[in-house]
Amino acid sequence: MEDLSKMSEQEKIAFLVKQQKKKKRRPSPGYLFIAPWFISYFIFGLFPMVLSFIMSFTDWPVIGKPTFVGLENYRDLLVDRSFHNSLWVTIRYAIVAVPIGMAASFTIALIMASKTKGLSVYRTIYYLPAVVSGVAVGIIWRWILDPNNGLINNLLAIIGIKGPGWLTDPDWVLPSYVLMSLWGAGAGMLTYLVSINEVPLDLHEAAEIQGAGFFKRIFLVVIPYVRPILYYNLIMGIIGAFKKFNDAYILGGAGNQGQFIMLQIYDTAFTYFKMGYASAMSWIFLIIVLAITLLVFKFTDFWKYSQENEE
């Protein structure tokens, strides 16, 4: 133990600085607590990603030995019509389903933010579908969309309309999936609801004094205020739409219109014994999603809420 009283001022300062540095060097025990996450990310996330990148240069039938084929898989993807079709199906779905889903979640949140009796019950009811597993949702929708005995077509029949073959007519497959995507609108509603409830009351009052009606207040007060949440939901919505798998796996869709890219990758790897090719598909797909996400990031300023922005 050093005796500070015997040290000169210079030595004391040097000693204390050294002690401070030592303290700083000691890593926080917090690292240990977050280690399980990092370890599982490394093993189940990063490691398979690196492996899949390596695999994408091979012809690997899963049940046999991989053979190095260089860029052949990527070259083949350029002319693979079924890959292009599934990409196009997924992109079209994302373009339509993401904004409609956001609008639905936002509208429900607006209703839930009003001061209605029994609101907590409604909130629970709207959120409930979000906790049902994707496979169960697929089975429920199979019944709802059944062309002959399904809920929707039976309701349409009551008013004299012959409903379409929702999943058996290629023209109706994508609209059916967009309709199904609204099932999860309750989950998005939660984040909007928190944000809407945080809009300062004085902003509403000021807008009201200046003669703004309900819709003007939504567009000029609420929406600008919740922009960061809209931004978050947009990014998550795009990624979610591109990752669509569960209900498509259960329901399919005529004319390859239900062949979303994730399903195509799964089929290619496990049904067609082409893991290398499926890996190349995944990487091309990753690049596309990354490009779209970066494009959205580019407009980050637009999504930020600040007093200056509004002025």
Binding site: P29, A35, G64, D146, G165, T168, P170, T271, F273
Partner: protein
């Protein structure tokens, strides 16, 4: 804890995890260290199956019987009721494959080509436990790839026509004869279509191949030559179209799809349907109140050939097994026992026994026997799954659904499109 120690600790954890995850399976390692197969200790084997709850129980009983009857090995069942092939393939990739595997006919060439299963031709030649000459060609052929046998089929289920015997009698229609043709079938189906009842319904049974083979055509040859656009094949497709899309005899596809063909038959809404000879149709009709008597007929004859589809599955030995000889003995023992199980055995000497094994089928033993004689499987190729998927989307579905309700089904055009896709896959 300093940085170095923390880093070492994390590296240790990750390494330990990877070692545990990538290690071989316990029983295999034990067996390896346990030494050779001549030791008295029983070798532990595993067989992967897709059995449902009831089948799994019955199969467990079979395995238990085998386990107590000899002291060379113990075999246990690994039931994978969902996503069977995904799991099997993942296990093979992870070097954790079960010793024996059930495979449906369309998977066998791919597994054989990639060396995932053992060639057992020589082993079969030097055994006497199972009489290979007793096997029905239509079944055994599905376990052969490039002239070598890779597995032993344990089921050979020919497709037959189930019909509502009571409805036939009520309408004064003669029951199907053994030599009836597709023209007779059409006539019968038309006569039965009235009062909300359809003569026939299909959502894919029989496969289009049955009509094609009957007219002398072929989808793809064993050597990979695609024959979808030959005049015989087109003739078979035209025949299929003329039956499937004629609403004066066949229930519209959408309706059949939502009702389920078998359910529609059980409910008396459809007079004839095609199904596997061992399908539970009679029992279901009985459980639904037994409103009518079920009859079974052989598949109608085509203009060139009398043929039906044969659904087969085999047991194969994984290339990763540590005990190929013991696994082969287990394969023989299991297959032998399975011939007396409830499923139609793919061997000539046992076909007649189906009446004893499954009393619901006792009335139709003769028909089942004749059907097995004319049955065959697809000419499966290693790319069979991809070919099948493409055929369903490009050929089967447009015909079945009348071009998704839009009409104008041109089978020649569809066949050309499918042939083009097939060639791209095979090449």
């Amino acid at each position: 804890m300093n940085k170095k120690k923390l880093a070492s600790f994390l590296v240790f954890l990750v390494t330990a995890f990877l070692l545990v995850a990538c290690g071989g399976n316990d029983s295999a390692s034990d067996n390896k260290t346990g030494g050779n197969e001549t030791e008295k200790e029983k070798v532990e084997l595993t067989i992967a199956t897709w059995a449902n709850e009831q089948e799994a129980k019955e199969f467990d009983a079979i395995l238990e019987e085998i386990n107590v009857s000899q002291d060379e090995y113990t075999i246990k069942q690994m039931v994978i009721p969902q996503d069977y092939y995904t799991k099997i393939q993942t296990m093979i990739a992870g070097n954790q494959a079960p010793d024996l595997i059930w495979l449906a006919q369309e998977y066998i060439p791919a597994y054989a080509k990639n060396g995932a299963v053992l060639d057992i031709t020589e082993k079969l030649n030097s055994q006497t436990q199972i009489n290979m000459d007793d096997y029905l060609d239509g079944s055994l052929n599905t376990a052969i790839y490039e002239g070598k046998i890779y597995g032993l089929p344990w089921i050979g289920q020919p497709y037959v026509v189930y019909y509502n015997k009571t409805l036939f009698a009520e309408n004064g229609i003669n029951e199907p004869a053994e030599d009836w043709t597709w023209e007779d079938f059409k006539e019968t189906a038309k006569a039965l279509t009235k009062d909300g009842i359809y003569g026939f319904a299909t959502t894919g049974n029989p496969p289009l191949a049955v009509w094609i083979w009957g007219e002398g055509g072929e989808i793809v040859e064993k050597d990979g030559t695609v024959k979808l656009t030959t005049p015989e094949t087109i003739s078979g497709l035209e025949l299929a179209k003329s039956i499937i899309l004629d609403e004066t005899m066949t229930m519209p596809y959408q309706e059949a799809l939502s009702m389920g063909v078998e359910q529609a038959f059980v409910n008396g809404k459809v007079a004839m349907m095609v199904g596997g000879a061992n399908d539970d149709v009679e029992r279901k009709v009985e459980e639904a109140g037994g409103q009518f008597e079920v009859g079974m007929a052989i598949m109608p004859r085509g203009s060139k050939q009398h043929v039906t589809f044969n659904w087969t599955a085999s047991t194969l030995i994984s290339e990763q097994t540590d005990h190929p000889d013991v696994a082969f003995q287990a394969l023989l023992d299991i297959t032998e026992k399975m011939f007396d199980w409830k499923v139609p055995a793919p061997v000539a000497s046992k076909v007649e026994k189906i009446g004893e094994i499954n009393p619901y089928k006792a009335y139709a033993v003769d028909i089942i026997k004749k059907s097995t004689e004319i049955s065959r499987g697809f000419n499966n190729l290693p790319e069979q799954n991809e070919l099948g998927g493409n055929q369903w989307e490009l050929l089967d579905l447009p015909i079945l659904s009348n071009n998704n309700g839009k009409g104008n089904v041109d089978v020649k055009e569809l066949a050309e499109l499918t042939e083009e896709a097939f060639k791209a896959i095979i090449e």
